[in-house]
């Protein structure tokens, strides 16, 4: 336990010191939330944009931390030999993975607290009954996106991971139903998006946290598949050096 605590403390200290990580994990979601809820530019399909945007950025926060921050951070750690050096310490692989997972979850909790508070200040009032499903979706999404982030980190050089994770983030931000509803996208793009992990995550969180909303079953199926396949792929293909 002492070793895991020590590793998590370091992971959190290093994450909090990275300006660009803070920007991706909190800055961008907050900006989207405040800007597009005050200026009704996006075709959110709701009377109040905040009712769509608030759960949308909660999904976005999961994707940014689990895939982008984790992937880029781990990618550079691998490039700089940090993982190699840790490998010679008594920490061990299992406790290293546990520390990474815990760090991601802690950051997500902080993001959600900040984003939910901001959304409520902007007039959002989600149905209480939806939280269980939303959190379940967030956990599945964390597994799926962490798997993708680590898959990139463990197979590509640090800079390539940086580019790939940011590129994928941008594509999924626009096509993942997080800030623009899938129904507003051209049908072929929406069909492909449902097979990727972002749209099902958004569908679950938005559907659960919208008054009178529901979650389509394709979302649970698709996201669960990703939550199994991506971490498995990372575990099989990850190279430590």
């Amino acid at each position: 336990m002492k070793a895991i605590r020590s590793q998590i403390r370091t992971e959190l200290a290093l994450s909090s010191r990275q300006g660009e990580q803070l920007l991706v994990s909190l800055g961008i979601p907050l900006l989207i939330l405040v800007f597009f809820s005050s200026i009704d530019l996006l075709p959110t399909g709701t009377d109040e944009p905040i009712d769509f945007l608030a759960p949308g950025v909660l999904a976005l926060a999961v994707m940014s931390t689990a895939m982008v921050s984790l992937g880029i951070g781990t990618g550079f750690e691998r490039t700089y030999g940090v993982l190699k050096r840790l490998g010679a310490s008594p920490l061990g692989r299992g406790r290293w993975v546990m520390s990474k997972i815990t760090t991601v979850l802690v950051i997500e909790v902080i993001q959600w607290v900040v984003l939910i508070s901001a959304s409520m200040l902007l007039g959002w009032s989600p149905p209480l009954s939806g939280w269980a499903a939303a959190i379940a979706g967030a956990l599945l999404g964390t597994a799926a996106f962490s798997g993708l982030g680590l898959l990139m980190a463990g197979t590509l050089p640090g800079l390539a991971t940086l580019a790939a994770a940011n590129g994928l983030y941008l594509i999924l931000l626009l096509t993942g139903g997080m800030i623009i509803p899938l129904s507003e996208l051209p049908a072929p793009i929406a069909a492909v998006a449902k097979l990727l992990p972002a749209a099902p995550l958004a569908e679950i969180i938005i559907g659960s946290l919208t008054v009178g909303g529901s979650v389509a079953s394709w979302a649970w199926v698709s996201l669960t598949c990703w939550a199994v396949i991506a971490p498995l792929g990372a575990a099989l293909l990850f190279r430590w050096e």
Binding site: S6, T10, R85
Partner: protein, 316 residues
């Protein structure tokens, strides 16, 4: 014996990086793997650290297998990678506290920072430390868990003179405390000052090993050179001084024995008795440099570890 490599070979695809290397390193000694770049030093040490599997041969660290018992060994072994291994944004104190948390019993991070002279830099991010400071931090990291065996890959590379002195004194302290220290380097001066035992590696093979003094004497090179009248009776001289004497070139002589004052006295009195003029007299003691250069040169060409060094001396 703390560390044993027995007929160890390591291959990358078709390339043989380490070729049937055998050596031992013991507690309370500093053992140096000496060789030019690309000789196979890092591959050898990284095998012992548990990173590279051997393609044949065997090895043990503290009686355990470095690959299959890797996790057990991590508590007793401290390592310093040739480069990197430390997050660029981390601060020295933070890093030592992090690793201290991995061991059941560790050194006090504050005390260790002081020992490597980084107390005043304890809050400076790693990337802003100088090369020498980074190396010292990396060395501190190797020591945090009170290891019984320490593997250091080029510990003094890129370190200034002051830093070298500090690292050297730290290593001597470890030796005193009974730690087995295994270092790779291509720095001969460092080796001569520190090593209890030297293993010279070139092209993946051990070409010589022993204590520095054994290496320097075993290769026939302590000798006395002098210049005098040509065509002296070398047989008579040899008999008089009790060591092999020969005329290596016209009027240049060489006596094959350590140039002790007694030998010098014997040679000069033999010459004095015959009233022979001495033109010069030189005591030559080989340095590790010479041994290393000759050995690595000859392993380049053929396997001839042949007789003499340079004897083409000139008159002054």
């Amino acid at each position: 014996m703390s560390v044993i490599a027995d007929q160890l070979s390591i291959q990358y695809g078709q390339t043989v990086a380490v070729d049937q290397v055998s050596f031992e390193a013991q507690a309370g000694q500093i053992t140096v793997l000496l060789g030019p770049n690309g000789a196979g030093k890092t591959s050898t040490i990284e095998h012992l650290e548990g990173y590279r599997a051997a393609s044949s041969g065997s090895s043990s660290v503290l009686g355990l297998d470095p690959i299959t018992d890797h996790h057990k060994l991590t508590k007793q072994v401290g390592i310093m990678l040739q480069q990197g291994g430390i997050p660029t944004a981390i601060r020295p104190r933070e890093l030592l506290q992090q690793y201290a948390g991995f061991f059941p019993a560790s050194l006090d991070p504050e005390e260790l920072l002081a020992r490597v002279g980084l107390t005043s830099r304890s809050k400076t991010p790693y990337r802003r430390l100088s090369g020498g400071e980074q190396q010292r931090l990396s060395l501190a990291l190797a020591l945090i868990g009170k290891p019984k065996v320490v593997f250091l890959d080029e510990p003094t590379a890129g370190v200034d003179l002051e830093g070298r002195d500090l690292i050297r004194s730290l290593l001597l302290t470890l030796r005193q405390e009974g730690v087995c220290v295994l270092i790779t380097t291509h720095d001969l001066a460092e080796t001569e000052r520190l090593a209890d035992k030297v293993i010279i590696i070139d092209h993946g093979k051990v070409i010589a090993q022993g204590s520095p003094s054994e290496l320097m004497s075993a290769t026939s090179s302590d000798h006395l050179l002098f210049g005098a009248t040509p065509n002296l009776d070398c047989a008579a001289l040899s008999a008089a001084v009790g060591s092999q004497a020969s005329e290596t070139s016209h009027g240049e002589y060489r006596v094959e024995a350590p140039p002790s004052p007694a030998l010098v006295a014997a040679v000069t009195s033999w010459l004095a008795a015959r009233n022979i003029q001495l033109t010069d007299l030189r005591a030559e003691r080989q340095r590790l440099d010479d041994v290393f250069r000759r050995l690595t040169d000859s392993s380049d060409s053929t396997d001839s570890t042949d007789s003499t060094g340079s004897t083409d001396s000139t008159d002054s």
